[in-house]
């Protein structure tokens, strides 16, 4: 029963892409809120670390399944955006 409850199918390429985009939006939002003084540096570092884990996990989630060329291109662009957002949040954290 527990095993059955713990099972879920592997996310498809579109879901992985949505996940990466969601983390990009989260990191940007967290950077804005840190800049405005609404959150703390410790909390923003948690968000950064969680986003990094998501970024590292995305190729694993896709596995060896074939991905349509346009989705692969969108994925590259999304991961680049997330990496950029993470660099900006890092810079914001370093300034504190």
């Amino acid at each position: 029963m527990l095993g059955a409850a713990g099972c879920s199918r592997a996310p498809d390429a579109r879901q992985v892409l949505d996940g990466v985009r969601s983390w990009t939006a989260t990191v940007r939002f967290a950077a804005d809120e840190l800049r405005s003084g609404a959150t703390t540096a410790a909390y923003s570092a948690e968000i950064r670390d969680a986003a990094r884990r998501a970024l590292a996990a995305s190729p694993r989630q896709l596995g060896d399944r074939p991905v349509p060329a346009d989705t692969a291109e969108q994925m590259r662009s999304a991961t680049d955006s997330l990496a950029t957002a993470l660099r900006l949040l890092d810079a914001e954290l370093a300034a504190r």
Partner: protein, 405 residues
Amino acid sequence: MKKWGEIALGVVTSVGGFLEVGSIATSAQAGAEYGYQLAWAVLLGLAGLALLMEMSGRLAAVSGRSYADLLRERFGFRFFVIPLFAVLLVSFLVLASEIAGVAVAMQMATGIAIRWWAIPVALLGWILLWRGTFSIVEQGTAALGLVAIVFAVGAWKLHPQWGALGSALLPSNASHDPPRYWYLAVSILGASISPYLYLFYSAGAIEDGWTRDYLVVNRVTAWLGNLFGGGLNLALLVVAAVVFAPRHIHVDAYEQVGLLLTSPLGRAGFWLVIASLCVTCFGATVEITLAIAYLLAQGFGWPWSENFPPCRDARFSLSYTVAIAMAAVPASLGADPLALTNVSMALTAASLPVTVIPLLVLMNDSDVMDKRGNGWATNLALVVLSALSIVLLVAAFPLQYLGGG
């Protein structure tokens, strides 16, 4: 006057009952991914839980025995073993999720990792149970749980579209990804209608010495309390719908929840979300631990009361000690708190038939209920709820597979 005080207290206590790690996670996920669309699931969960709590409270007030006690007595021990194991398994997973919820809140506040908080949280809960009485446990956590009103304040300040929210109180087809939509609906129902809630409520009625004189208190507490707790849960969904959905933020980790109220309330909103997560999950931790001990003690006929010193009900005290200690293990080993919550909510939904359907029999047993059994309207509502529980049992695992990713 004393009874009205008890009603007020019962209403406040319902915040801790309704708003906990499961409802926070599922409502935030639902609001972020589907806007207001799943508001109906919160409303259905609210009505279902209020119905079950009112009946289990009435059962206890009229018969002088708890629901678990009567389950064993009227259906026999062989049958009782089924709900016993189902509820124990589900409650243990939910308890582990609640401890992880407090640990997540502490991590967000301090930056110190979740795994370091799980054991101190369990220890604090155990000390409260070991040293405290039922009223201290119930009232202490309830008073602190009022901090969750911040979600209603946040939702109000965000100026939601009231018309769209009103339309979403009736079920509609998914705007996208139907398996995920229905999976979230099942999880919201699992988070709302947890068996531990009505088993705890029934045992609490015995602890508080309810008699037939308390039937009005019971009815008002069950409905008004759930309306209050469910309203805050709905407010949380609205906040996620207004803050996260337009930014295309999905809740994939608890850490993201910290951003829910920074837009309307600034830094205060950030700290109040953390406080709400911490306090409501801690309240639920203590209540579920007690519910597990109540179930075991009532099922096996041991002496039990949170008001007794531990030496008078040693097996009851040992039960909650072991339960809370074991439930701290997953978070202290680094289990993903959100994954743990999602699995436990789906399992909770699947476990409902074994505790909902027997209630239909007990509420119509004149030996137990005398003339205070169900009327046709409450029976009809319970039949609908029983049918829904069977649908949830059948649908929970396929939906977890298709939409739980």
